[in-house]
């Protein structure tokens, strides 16, 4: 195949298809990288999906990948393009975390996820836009401005991994890393018609991820197919001694079991997921998806998550508490933004942080400071950790009778930019269906399952700890029967 002929279609191909093409010699990594960099140059700015595009580094990495292939040293992802959420540290490349605080920060080292993907041969094209310090559900808290939803530029792509989701949805790149603390991979995947996988807590190393809420944060991926998510997870997962909460648990081959049919799979349906609050069309699409799983031999079983309503308030104590602690490292002294002409050390701290952090980050730091402060710790933080135990127990009880829990990823399709910025609680409630998996440390995936008007809707599958294979297989089987994940926004064909 000549480059000219393949150029038209390379951006529409999945990682698995591109891997086949590279191995067959249909095109080179350099040709593929050039084609996608051209697309990023053409569309990246209008979408505001990128904070940094690393074109020169990408070309060099692509050349190295081609050389490795001709030397017989091709890694499992050799020559495949990816992008990283700008929360993963990348040696020698700006790592801003969407914040003015880190606008001048060039990481001295690579995150484990970044290093592992590079060692497998993946070519990084750049760093994607995100809500500041991953605190947001719409990408509107970014210091670099909101990302646009490729399905309609008036709408939010969700957040906080909104740049990664928009880049994949617009076919600028076939796969992207993201992080998920309360839904930050799955919710933007749902709102952009992409696949978003959040693994089990501890499955993927957090080393080199700028910390937000350490007991909830987990790295994952946004792709177009579940099979591609399985491919990337296989490379990213595994024990890392540099992350004290990394789990030493064997990494299976996530791709190999995908073809196993759904016969006998027990799918839990949560009654509370379909209560008021779920937009009607979203509910209809999810019900259709469930019916399809049942047709394929899965059995639908009703399960109860009685404390679901408490998951958002629990999260908004635990996450801000951990964030106030983690973000105390930004002091204007060792790295990051520093206020000019401070009167004294206290003024240096307070003004550097006041200027460096945006409104939402400041709100969360203060909420966290309050719930951890003398006299309030027991009433808020300790209480929330107890309710978190109840929520976790609800999932354990449910998984005694089912293999996965299926339901909506988000209560609504994408919302308009600016629609929810004045009301933090309305924004927070967007994560009602996703937060539980973070509180309990469970793996979850969002898969496109149709449209509400012209905007994508996501189906969420949550599994027990380390059941990534089950949710990936269920998602993959669903995708062999549907083509929602192949739909592409008209402007990005």
């Amino acid at each position: 195949m000549t480059v000219g002929a393949s150029d038209q279609s390379l951006h529409q191909m999945t990682l698995a298809e591109l891997g086949d093409g590279l191995r067959a010699g249909d095109f080179s990594a350099l040709e593929l990288t050039t084609a996608l960099l051209d697309r990023i140059a053409a569309h990246g700015e209008a979408l505001n999906a990128f904070i940094t595009v690393t074109a020169d580094e990408a070309m060099r990495a692509a050349e190295a990948a081609d050389a490795a292939r001709s030397n017989g040293n091709a890694g499992p992802l050799n020559g495949l393009p990816v992008v990283h959420k700008d929360l993963f540290c990348t040696a020698g490349v700006k790592t801003s975390c969407g914040s003015r605080m880190l606008d001048n920060f060039v990481s001295p080292y690579d995150a484990t996820v970044v290093a592992k993907l590079r060692q497998a041969g993946a070519v990084s094209l750049g760093k994607t836009n995100m809500d500041e310090f991953a605190m947001g559900s719409s990408n509107e808290t970014s210091y670099y401005g909101p990302v646009k939803n490729p399905w309609d530029h008036e709408y939010s792509p969700g957040g906080s991994s909104g740049g990664s989701a928009a880049a994949v949805a617009a076919r600028l790149v076939p796969g992207a890393t993201g992080t998920d603390t309360g839904g930050s991979i799955r919710q933007p995947a749902s709102l952009t018609g992409t696949v978003g996988l959040k693994p089990t807590y501890g499955r993927v190393s957090r080393y080199g991820m700028v910390a937000f809420a350490s007991s909830l944060d987990q790295a994952g991926v946004i792709t177009r197919s579940a099979a591609d998510a399985a491919l990337l997870l296989g490379v990213m997962a595994g024990f890392d001694e540099r992350d004290s909460t990394s789990v030493d648990h064997p990494v299976p081959d996530y791709v190999v079991g995908l073809d196993q049919p759904l016969e006998g799979l027990r799918v839990g349906i949560v009654r509370q997921h379909f209560d008021e609050g779920l937009e009607e069309q979203c509910g209809a699409r999810v019900r259709e998806a469930l019916a399809l799983l049942e047709e394929q031999g899965a059995s639908l079983v009703e399960v109860d998550l009685p404390n679901l309503d408490l998951s958002v308030p629990t999260y908004y104590v635990v996450a801000p508490a951990e964030c106030s602690s983690n973000l105390s490292r930004f002091d204007g002294v060792r790295f990051g933004h520093r206020a000019s002409d401070p009167d004294d050390l206290l003024d240096l701290y307070c003004r550097s942080r006041g200027e460096g952090f945006g409104d939402e980050v400041q709100r969360r730091v203060m909420t966290g400071t309050y719930v951890l402060s003398a006299g309030y710790y027991d009433a808020y933080y300790l209480k929330a950790q107890k309710v978190r135990q109840l929520i976790s127990q609800d999932f354990k009880n449910a998984f005694a009778s089912v293999d996965v829990i299926a339901g909506p990823t988000a209560p609504t399709p994408a919302f308009r930019l600016g629609e929810k910025t004045d009301d933090p609680i309305t924004m927070y409630l967007n994560d009602i269906y996703t937060i539980g998996a973070n509180l309990a440390g469970l793996p979850g995936i969002s898969v496109p399952c149709g449209f509400s008007a012209d905007l994508p809707v996501g189906l969420q599958l949550v599994g027990p700890h380390f059941a990534e294979q089950t949710i990936l297989r269920c998602a993959h089987q669903y995708q062999t029967l549907t083509d929602w994940h192949c739909r592409c926004p008209e402007a990005y064909q």
Binding site: Y370, S373, V387, I425
Partner: protein, 95 residues
């Protein structure tokens, strides 16, 4: 429970945040909304519930106390706003 202006001023000092005067009322209002929202937790029955410390009930892993990294001070200080002779510069703290 809504928060008073004095409480928010105290929290801001604890959090080492200088709030702009024009944003102050908005911060008080929004933080109050958030605190009222999380107050729903108070009604949850949690007697005898053990607070959750880790999603996988893992204990903190320890490692041997051995030197594993080399001194990279110069490289790491490239991100520092102000350094001199290997030290971070801050405003005078001792008169």
């Amino acid at each position: 429970m809504s928060l008073t202006k004095e409480q928010v001023q105290h929290i801001a000092i604890l959090a080492r945040l200088k709030l702009a005067d024009e944003q102050f009322d908005d911060v008080v209002a929004k933080l109050s909304t958030i605190v009222e929202f999380v107050d729903q937790l108070q009604s949850a029955p949690t007697d005898d519930v053990v607070p959750m410390a880790h999603p996988l009930d893992q204990a903190q892993r320890l490692r041997d106390d051995t030197v594993t990294a080399s001194n990279e001070r110069d490289r790491l200080q490239q991100n520092a706003p102000a350094v001199e002779a290997g030290y971070y510069l801050v405003p005078r703290v001792i008169e």
